[in-house]
Symmetry: C2
Subunit: 309 residues, 2 copies
Amino acid sequence: MSLLIVGTVAFDAIETPFGKTNKIIGGAATYISLAASYFTKQLSIVSVIGDDFPQDYIKLLKDRFINLDGLQIKKGEKSFFWAGKYHNDMNTRDTLITELNVLADFDPVVPENMKEPDFVMLGNLTPIVQKKVIDQLKKRPKLIVMDTMNFWMNVAWDDLIQTISMVDVLTINDEEARQLTKEYSLARAAQKILTMGPKYLIIKKGEHGALLFDENNMFFAPAIPLEEVFDPTGAGDTFAGGFIGFLDKTKNISFENMKRAIIYGSALASFTVEKFGTEKLLELNHKEIEERIQMFVGLVKFSVSSENN
Amino acid sequence: MSLLIVGTVAFDAIETPFGKTNKIIGGAATYISLAASYFTKQLSIVSVIGDDFPQDYIKLLKDRFINLDGLQIKKGEKSFFWAGKYHNDMNTRDTLITELNVLADFDPVVPENMKEPDFVMLGNLTPIVQKKVIDQLKKRPKLIVMDTMNFWMNVAWDDLIQTISMVDVLTINDEEARQLTKEYSLARAAQKILTMGPKYLIIKKGEHGALLFDENNMFFAPAIPLEEVFDPTGAGDTFAGGFIGFLDKTKNISFENMKRAIIYGSALASFTVEKFGTEKLLELNHKEIEERIQMFVGLVKFSVSSENN
């Protein structure tokens, strides 16, 4: 098994200035796996849903060769449900409903044939659940990537720090990097986080791009200024999925290749926000993705020598 | 005359979490001209000061071959004075004192021998004063660049719109671009501003870099994640000065060369914030600047082909 993804598979109900949805398919593992499926066909999810989760949604994942042997379906229980409303600036949102349901006592079980993945993506989830997945692996993967959020810093600090110490790459946003380290400067925050366990750090800055750090290197990935952000839900998870999917496809964890992976992740995320939920992410083709990649190439290309006018 | 700079020459008193200054030399034209002086020795300032302005400060500008024939010195009057205090995040500040003094009735006079500049940089100032300078020019310069700020949108909207319609390049920050156009999306805001007169737009995003737009092109210039921002005062003006100075030196206003100019402006600004006021900007050498430029080159360099590891 090549890529193991842990995270929520859930219902989302989304309201933006452009409209609102009923309960649609959402969850970190959903976005991560859909994004990664553009690069690799050897991926599996460890997650949990209730028996209220539609077969259509499950089929949608299976159709993309996403292995669901690790997806627990709890009889008589309900799936995790989140409802949120975005403000006019699309950068801030209010959570309207959070029903943990099956997630409340989720005990992840990694199926036997998935215990030796090359890559692991721990989507945003209780740090204890993330750690339980690592503990079940039979050998150290090439790379364990962990996403998290400020919520866990507030309610599960010690668990969070312990899980962070076990991973190779941490992805968080700029405010979270500051909260985690009490450093305002992102350069300083990065240095601190790189002493906490991870060898690499990705700081996501939304419309301002992303930063990749290791001990000796720094990379600034741009974001494309979009005319319309229709629904930001899932952008961070899509980014993570594109990143880890590209790494799994190329099997190369050099800093140079991680840069490429970040560009691919950013490109996929730039599609996700164009429509509600997973809609856009389900209809992409490789030509579109490569065209978007070329936009990123063009966006930051400059030469300090004046040979090219 | 090659480069004409209009803006304040003033006193600043600055307080940051790292310390505070007495009245030191400040003002948009000061930072712009000092930054530009690393690239061109044919530059002159149109501004106004009182007779309280120290000869040492005037000498400091003259020593860098900055022509001060257009600098009015008002007998018995006091120079413009601004005092501000930065918050811990260094991104927000409170204005403690604003004494307009000589600026209150500033009537700019462009000396006869400066009325045919190649490049004009209109530092942040009343839009009417900026317009009066343009009106005195004998022929259209290669490029007129205008900086402004939200304050003028609040108190002098019509004048601002008129002056904007007369320039080639507008530089503003992201929030101001939104305020000016009532568009949240910067891509949309840019499109609107490019119908208001300017052929080019630079959106400054501070620690997140800068964007350059023309009708058909978009460029995302990174900012270096700095470990320490000591004093942000003058960073935007330094950026503008580096930008226009580089253009004046190279006499090339292609989009490709403007990208380079933005990188040079960003590099100089990244130095300015390392010390209080103009201190760092006064002690740079070209080797340091070129090394910083190479950091920018490295920061965004990636290749989507996997030939280079």
